[in-house]
Amino acid sequence: MTTVDRAVPPGADLPEHADFLWRNPEPKRSYDVVIVGAGGHGLATAHYLAKNHGIRDVAVLERSWLGGGNMCRNTTIIRSNYLWDESSAIYEHSLKLWETLEEDLGYPILFSQRGVLNLAHSLQDVRDSVRRVEANKLNGIDAEWLTPDEVKKVCPIVNTSQELRYPVLGATYQPRAGIARHDYVAWGFARRADEAGIDIIQDCAVTGFRTAGDRITGVRTTRGDIAAGKVVLCAAGTTTVLTDMLGLRIPVQSHPLQALVSELLEPVHPTVVMSNHVHVYVSQAHKGELVMGAGVDPYNGYGQRGAFHVIERQMAAAVELFPVFARAHLLRSWAGVVDVCPDASPVVGKTPYEGLYLNCGWGTGGFKATPGLGWSLAHMIANDEPHPCIAPFGLDRFVTGALIDEHGAAGVAH
């Protein structure tokens, strides 16, 4: 069993921010590349376009404020212990980038590799978990199967009593997994992109596309038309609102996904715990708040809010698994809009429109993929060919039937 250094203990002071983060420029009339959406994916793509490919004549358009969508609404879990080869490849590529991201960005992102436990509560959970651990190992990803006693050692507050309604039968453990501070990640990427001369245009909503035949030539926005050699959609839950403007159909549905935090608490929870069966995932952030989430709300929704009974259920699960949480207090709840594909894997690739690139369908996995996706998407934009990490995620899989079904045996997909 591996243990890891807890680089930043919960309760530590937050670092000072940079004095300057980004300009607020007026949009130019034309760019080589226009990225729609200044969330983590859009900003990371901009950064790697400049850094890896020297492409700097880039605008990132944001209808609201940068990093204000799912980027600032997720529970910041970073891991790569996915079941299928295709998934673990992109997430592991991403995790490796996370490990050096703070230096790359020159900005504190509070990346803390405190490990993640995925608990198993049924015999089938155990089978699925072992299957995933063994696949991870063969793919070069750190993964272990822990007994309930070993789970208790990693996270002493987990209730491993066999009297539990669904007792903990063990867990998968990825020591290199962890959490980061989502806002700082967005700001760090934005700052680097801005430094490279990339224009981040906030409060600028795309209202349409300009096309010439099957080629994209630009976007129409609330701040005027902007011509573009290439257009990249990084709009997560609102992607289909954009693709509908082009009559392009993609198999994603937008759902509310809720999360919540407690007040600040002295350190009690040293790792990240996820349970699919009892259904909650929880970590303790750097300042001490418990950060928690569960499943998506079932219906389509863009309202950035969900139903409270989902949260009540999650609280029941939390207190069941962590009895010491009983008198922690729910301080704030909120929701993002996640774009979900039928197989719980993303859609990344070229489109029938020349110069238009698609990146969506990340569901609950978007945050952890941020650097890896940005890297790979920048590669595709620069070379007009998918990076190997994202090549399997094209739309074609829905026609052939070669889905990458992370619902089935991958534990929680968050």
Binding site: D13, H17, D19, L21, W22, R23, N24, W65, G68, C72, D85, H121, S122, R127, D128, S129, R131, R132, E134, A135, K137, L138, N139, G140, R165, Y166, D183, D194, Q202, S262, E263, L264, L265, E266, V278, F308, I311, E312, R313, M315, A316, A317, A318, V319, E320, V324, A326, R327, A328, H329, L330, R332, S333, W334, T400, G401, A402, L403, G408, A409
Partner: protein
């Protein structure tokens, strides 16, 4: 000891004295006190230090808006991060100030939490003057009313005032109003109940605090104690046709240099401590205000004996009537002046006002009032900036929601009373009630004054000590820094500075931050907006939200009718969905392996009995039932003869296996469908979906009969003897009762005529002891052995089970659990959906092409079989794996690779082990696995990494035992 407790006044019970401990100091107080009022009575303002800068901090308000005053309760049970202002004092309470992080108990909380539902015509949130008036108006009109209020008693703002209504003290009117409300049968009035979340369609969640104020039995000196079974907190789930938010307003401070010292307090708070608790918050007082409301605090504190050294009014035009009152009391009023700084370390000692230094021990501040719009905003109500109030107010009308009184920006008492009545009457009209004529309460004449000045901050001095969010130690300098860094929105500023994210969720700091950011950016506040209000309004304990859904109630435990027998027999359990199923029945000294080997051998060598009652059962009836099932199963069902049984597979539209089981044809128009235990509910919903949404023309009716039928497979070569003994009426020979057929019979006397398919309830309850028990027998086998499945009404299940066991005794009948069932079925390669499949597996992959009809033009999933990926030669197929080492056990989930060497990652995987067991019959281990092109690899050797080693295994035909099927007829 209570040096600052006035000799009389307040709503505390002076006849009883409580002892409590704060920061290690033993202190006293009275019933009716909050922890904060009891501390202030001792002259204690400072509760702790701030989170980042370690500056002393104290009590700064009298209720939930306090951004300071954070405490940790240690006794009677640790609870983190509460406000001293909202904790009711109890005897023996032990608490301490904390710098912003609480401590969780390290033992489980034994308190009980629960929830109740309530339905109302009108829900009124807040029992202040507005809410009481509204509730009375609605109750008198005959409406069903729920009135909730977060304080220990009704009155709201009036509890901290000297206001008068109808010529008498306002609290007399409050008492009369609550007494009148108590007389209405359809009024639910709850104090200590905080509405914390407002959702769609009039749904409001409120938390009732039921026992904390009673203390623990050992500590209570007199009066009521909390019975141990009483829930500590209760979540009220209120569904109201109309919601009226009458939550009042929160006073807002002004930001100035060193505005965070203990002894700096909101003016209204000090007034509340005076009138409600009989406590002087200080002896030497300075008041700093931008509006008229703080004058009342100056006057009241002076009247109570405090020395009020100045009222510093930021406005040049001061309110004449109030100034006159001050002059009469010798209180100087400094018009058009600002507080520019303070002195003191542990407690404020002086205030700087434009170069003048005024010594004091209490600085009262009022920067105006923020309407408490949280609950309106949570439900999606938009807000509008009101430049006159310097605050955000409800910006639109919404169906079923109204806001009245202080929460709508109404400032004075008369207006609130009228607004409450108006809002209630407006709502009643829409609900079909007619307001009755009744006199309106009359407030004493309002003191005319001057308009408020909107002032966010006093710029003089060091921005780094001008605190906007005290709990987060966030200052004007931090806002300036955020803007300097490029941030232009309130959301970014909030995230950069952390303003508004602390325990109080920005109740005082939110609007200030918007105002100051707008000022620094040179933009209007209204354009910049404010951050979104999110549930909960005030923090709610996890356990309260979990309620009773804990332990065995976390998820219902489903047990079969024979459960108690299994318990008595010492079964070890497996959770299958919500069901508790016996996994195996160990004999003394046996571990699972020994028990399962014994059970397997007993079944294959003699006879065993399994409780299979958890299998899903669906009664499918109607003239088109055969056609309906034909469309859902991959194989042909319509040709099934009455009296026969067929195994069927169901696929999703994507062609992947979703369930399987047997189908009994009971009649031309009636089938009994068995599903997997875990899939029962989903399959019924799946059937209903197709029937209702795609084939409404089919005349079919579906009924779940899972609980109605108990199912006991009696399995093994001696099963015929057992069945023949128990059911002498039945000819159990192969010829008369062949495989895959069923027969109805009776148990008991030999009278016949009962229709086994009629449930007990339809027969009017339990038959007399001499009556027959209808039983259905089916020759199906999930083990390859001769087997009879005994189906009986659950009511008689235990008796029938015991008859079977008794009859089997001489054959050594052995009860067996799911583990043995799995071994036996795996030896025959019968797949378990969800274990040997994972949503990516077709019937063909399972080697069950025989169960996929080639004749039927349509069945669900058929089209998907023709897609490119389904045609791949290297699809994963179900095969058996036989470890070369016959004793080596492959863990389920193990991955299969080519081997025999291990290359560098990523290593290509061929598939994985889905099921793995020790076979008593084969005297070896074996496994089932999904392996790429598995069927073409039969006979080859592949490898499985197991615990760091690479294990060679032989790929084999999936059926490893009795491949000829010679045993099923006995």
């Amino acid at each position: 000891m209570n040096a600052l407790r006035l000799p009389a006044g307040g709503r505390i019970d002076r006849s009883t004295t409580y002892e409590f401990t704060f920061n290690g100091q033993r202190l006293t107080g009275h019933p009716g006190d909050t922890l904060a009022s009891a501390l202030l009575a001792h002259g204690i303002h400072r509760t702790g230090t701030s989170i980042k800068l370690g500056r002393p901090r104290g009590i700064a308000a009298a209720w939930a808006e306090d951004p300071n005053g954070l405490i940790q309760i240690e006794e009677p049970f640790p609870e983190p991060m509460l406000l001293a202002t909202t904790v009711e004092l109890t005897d023996g309470l032990t608490a301490r100030g904390i710098p912003g992080q609480g401590r969780l108990a390290d033992v489980p909380d034994s308190a009980r939490y629960d929830a109740r539902h309530s339905h109302a015509d009108l829900l009124v949130i807040g029992a202040g003057p507005t809410g009481l008036c509204a509730a009375l108006t609605a109750a008198r009109a005959g409406a069903r009313v729920v009135l909730v209020d977060e304080q220990s008693e009704a009155g709201g703002y009036l509890l901290g005032s000297t206001d008068r209504i109808d010529g008498g003290p306002a609290l007399d009117w409050v008492a009369a109003a609550t007494a009148e409300l108590a007389g209405f049968a359809d009024v639910l009035h709850l104090q200590r109940t905080t509405a914390f979340g407002h959702f769609d369609d009039g749904f409001v969640l409120a938390l009732e605090r039921r026992t904390d104020h009673l203390g623990t039995p050992t500590h209570v000196l007199g009066g009521e104690t909390a019975p141990p079974h009483k829930s500590r907190q209760r979540v009220w789930r209120i569904r109201a046709r109309h919601v009226l938010v009458a939550a009042g307003a929160h006073e807002r401070p002004v930001v100035f240099s060193d505005n965070d010292r203990p002894g700096i307090m909101l003016a209204g708070g000090a007034r509340t401590y005076l009138h409600r608790y009989g406590v002087l918050a200080g002896r030497d007082v300075v008041v700093f205000t931008t509006n008229d409301s703080a004058y009342a605090a100056a006057v009241d504190l002076a009247d109570a004996g405090a020395r009020v050294h100045a009222v510093v009014d930021a406005r040049a035009a001061t309110p004449a009537a109030w100034v006159q009152k001050c002059v009469r009391r010798g209180i100087p009023v400094r018009a058009g002046r600002l507080v520019t700084g303070t002195e003191g370390v542990e407690r404020i000692t002086a205030v700087a006002v434009a170069g003048e230094r005024i010594p004091c021990d209490l600085l009262l501040v009022s920067g105006g009032w923020n309407p408490a719009v949280h609950l309106f905003s949570q439900a999606g109500g938009t807000l509008r900036y009101d430049g006159g109030l310097g605050a955000f107010v409800p910006g639109e009308e919404r169906d079923g929601v109204s806001v009245a009184g202080g929460a709508a920006g109404v400032a004075e008492l008369g207006g609130c009373l009228a607004d409450g009545r108006r809002a209630a009457e407006g709502a009643l009209g829409g609900l079909g009630f007619v307001p009755v004529d009744s006199p309106s309460p009359v407030a004493e004449a309002h003191v005319d004054g001057q308009p408020s000045l909107v002032l966010w901050r006093v710029a003089d001095g060091d921005q780094r000590t001008q605190f906007v969010d005290l709990q987060r130690d966030a200052t004007v300098a931090d806002i300036a820094c955020a803007i300097g860094a490029g941030m232009r929105t309130v959301e970014h500023v909030k995230r950069y500075t952390t303003i508004g994210t602390a325990h109080d969720q920005g109740k005082t700091s939110g609007v200030l931050a918007s105002g100051i950011a707008a000022e620094l950016l040179g933009r209007p506040v209204g354009e910049l907006g404010t951050t979104t209000f999110r549930p909960p309004y005030t923090p709610v304990a996890f356990a309260a939200l979990a309620g009773r859904d804990r332990g065995s109630l976390f998820d219902p435990e489903r047990t079969t009718a024979v459960h108690a027998w299994h318990v008595a027999r010492g079964a070890v359990w497996e959770d299958v969905g919500q069901w508790k199923r016996p996994r195996y029945y160990p004999l003394p000294g046996e571990d699972m392996e020994a028990a399962v080997l014994r059970e397997c051998a007993a079944v294959r060598g003699g006879v065993g009995i399994l409780d299979g009652s958890t299998l899903g059962k669906i009664d499918v009836q109607g003239p088109d039932a055969a056609e309906f099932l034909n469309r859902l199963y991959t194989n042909m069902i319509a040709t099934l003869k009455v009296g026969s049984v067929r195994y069927g597979v169901m696929c999703g539209a994507d062609g992947m296996v979703i369930d399987d089981g047997t189908v009994l044809r009971l009649a031309g128009d009636r089938f009994l469908v068995y599903t997997t235990t875990g899939g029962a509910a989903a399959v019924l919903e799946w059937m209903e979906e197709w029937l209702q949404t795609e084939w409404p023309d089919l005349r079919v009716y579906l009924t779940s009969v899972t609980e109605q039928w108990a199912t006991f497979p009696v399995v093994g070569p001696r099963s015929r003897d057992v069945i023949g003994t128990v059911f002498p009426d039945v000819d159990v020979s192969n010829a008369a009762f062949p495989f895959m057929t069923w027969r109805d019979t009776v148990l008991g006397s030999n009278r016949s005529g009962h229709d086994a398919s009629t449930p007990r309830s339809a027969r009017g309850g339990r038959p007399a002891p001499d009556q027959d028990v209808p039983v259905r027998l089916a020759r199906v086998s999930f083990s390859g052995e001769l087997a009879y499945e005994v189906n009986v009404d659950s009511w008689y299940a235990r008796a029938v089970w015991e008859r079977l066991v008794a009859a089997g005794e001489r054959h050594g009948i052995t009860p067996y659990g799911t583990e043995t069932m799995h071994v036996l079925r795996a030896e025959k390669a019968y797949p378990i959906v969800g274990q040997d499949t994972d949503g990516t597996v077709t019937p063909h992959d399972l080697g069950m092409s025989w169960a996929v009809s080639k004749k039927k033009p349509f069945f669900v999933g058929k089209r998907s079989f023709h897609r490119a990926d389904n045609q791949r030669a290297d699809r994963k197929q179900l095969v058996a794996l036989l470890p070369v080492d016959r004793n080596l056990f492959l863990p389920e989930g193990s991955q299969v690779i080519e081997g025999p060497s291990v290359p560098e990652p990523p290593i290509p995987m061929l598939g994985h082990v889905t099921s793995s067991y020790r076979s008593a019959a084969l005297e070896r281990t074996f496994a089932l696995a999904l392996v790429k092109a598995g069927r073409t690899r039969i006979g080859e050797t592949v490898h499985v990494p197991v615990a760091g080693a690479l294990v060679p295994v032989e790929v084999a035909e999936p059926v490893v035992f009795d491949p000829e099927g010679a045993r099923r007829d006995g």
